[in-house]
Chain length 349, copies 2
């Protein structure tokens, strides 16, 4: 959703409350109104309607993945998505990075008193749509309301469980010298979009967040038997931070070819105006795969067929060394990449 | 921890930062400092140190439970516990209420810029201690920092997964007319403690929160083969709300004997001063079990042996009806119990 949509019609039982009040978080009748009229319709599945302290489900795997993320993005809505889309895709993608098929999500809401009811409804609908797209179910949840001035509208936590389908372990410790590093698509769109929205900037060509679930191409690679040594989505801290962390944990060097990293022209221009380095900008629908060099073509083949992966590319390789990351610049120079102490922009996801 | 302990010694790499700054949530070097120096030592386990996008673990059951809760309690520290204890016990207890052995927790932190580092350290230590006591591991996590004035110090989400060990389903739909309702201990301590702390009140006899994990007695009952129809911990909304929700979902009436509900004298007195009805006060270490009448004695037997369950009692029974809850008062009158629209007190858990 790139623009403000027409006002959503508030379900009848909520009409007396155009804004969230403290009692909506009290666990009583008003909390139940939110569950019954907003969350159950948006997330509908048989687990959620058990209305118990948790959800129970059958397990048909012997290895599971479990992950969690808080979403505190500001603003809540931005071109290409919103906090709800982000909260589902981010956690789905973290499960995929563990080599797991995402199955079930939890959703925990910390709502600031005074939040327009319409904002909560739109967010829940976005979450439901993103969950359907990612083929996961939101099976358990929690709602708390905090006093006005003690939040920023809405914070969401999603946690997720998935079935590990990779037969071999996936992680930084599996990375080997000689591995090729493949990126699933162009970088920088999410961070630039959110920051531009926050600052009220617009560019000649519209930039949209890349927020999307990326589990499908990962599962396809696993099903095709491609050996994946390490996967990492390029969220907070961007590509550079991901490579630095992996190189350090692997204890091998990473040589990145800066020319090979796909960046859309609009994003490159916007980054310059905003004073950001695309390598450190957060993405929400983009990942790197470390694979034996012989597998690189097969990985590209999968990524080129996948929805939403623009310009997947081999961007570097792993070399014997001590865990350093270097970038070869367009003019042939080589610079070492380091962790930023913080981040170029806060509240991005 | 009932009183302010001596200042905790800040690990050396954090000493330049007596307070949380935005960059601690940036995903870069400062975020890693928190993980390495606070969370890994407090939660130490081999899963967390995988430092991947999620944790993976072996599964040896065919039925799992999954639950989530946000903790937004104010104040963060109170007699008998703190937000960290609460965040672990609350989620552990929700898993137990599903008839599951709690196994793994996630921890998501939303920290307000400016939070004293010492507060975060104490909280992490409390979480680690509570996890050890409850025999669970905190295996994955996330840290976000929000701007000053956009939080209230610290919000925590914990989600949990557990192995369902109950052979029969447990839930409101299993409740049958004739079932006995057993309470695991006395009510009202948590809510009264937090509210008194918030208002700066003190009473002649100290009141402490009942926050504790209750998985052990539940697992013992299951292992002893006691038929459990429904379990519910008496958190937000207290005993009355739990009974009302269960009666309604079960479609049977609940007759509660108000005289039989254990309430400590100090709690009764404090509730009167604070203008609260103990039946609606939140608890954090107390639950009800709906069981066939013939099992009531066996349930009491387990609860009487359990740590931290004071005065477990049969407090009522289920009768054929349409989902109403009535309380028989000490003088023999009968009143219907209804959901409060909100809650007697906000920000209690």
């Amino acid at each position: 959703m790139t623009d403000r949509e027409p006002a959503i019609v508030c379900p009848a039982p909520l009409r007396d409350y155009p804004h969230i009040v403290m009692a909506h978080g009290g666990g009583g009748a008003l909390t139940r109104d939110l569950i019954t009229n907003i969350f159950e319709p948006a997330f509908h599945n048989r687990y959620l309607s058990q209305m118990h302290d948790g959800a129970t489900f059958r397990v048909t795997t012997d290895q599971m993945a479990f992950t969690t993320d808080n979403y505190v993005v500001s603003p809540l809505f931005f071109p290409g998505g919103d906090i709800g889309t982000l909260a589902v895709c981010g956690t789905v993608n973290d499960l995929a990075m563990c080599g797991a098929r995402p199955l079930y999500l939890s959703a925990g809401f910390v709502i600031e008193e005074g939040l327009p009811m319409e904002t909560l409804i739109r967010t829940a609908q976005s979450m439901g749509e993103a969950a359907a797209r990612a083929n996961v179910q939101i099976v358990t949840g929690d709602i708390k309301v905090v006093d006005r001035g003690k939040g920023d509208g809405l914070y969401i936590n999603t946690s997720g469980v998935g079935a590990v389908i990779s037969h071999a372990p996936i992680g930084p410790d599996q990375v080997r010298p000689g591995d090729a590093i493949v990126i699933s698509g162009d970088i920088g769109r999410h961070g630039v979009t959110v920051l531009a929205e926050r600052e009220g900037l617009s560019f000649e060509s519209a930039v949209e967040s890349d927020v999307q679930p990326v589990a499908d191409p990962v599962l396809t690679m696993l099903e095709e038997g491609i050996a994946l040594h390490c996967l990492r989505d390029l969220t907070r801290g961007g590509l550079a931070t991901a490579l630095i962390e992996i190189a350090e944990q692997a204890g091998h060097d990473v040589e990145m070819d800066e020319m090979a990293v796909p960046v859309a022209e609009t994003v490159r221009g916007a980054s310059e105006i905003l004073g950001l380095d695309p390598l450190y900008i957060a993405n929400e629908g983009c990942f790197v795969a470390f694979v034996p060099e012989r597998e690189a073509a097969a990985v590209l083949n999968v990524l080129n067929r996948a929805d939403g992966c623009f310009a997947p590319s081999v961007i570097g390789r792993v070399a014997a060394g001590s865990g350093q990351v270097s970038a070869v610049s367009p003019i042939g120079g080589r610079r070492a990449l380091d962790l930023l102490s913080g981040e170029q922009m806060p509240r991005i996801c």
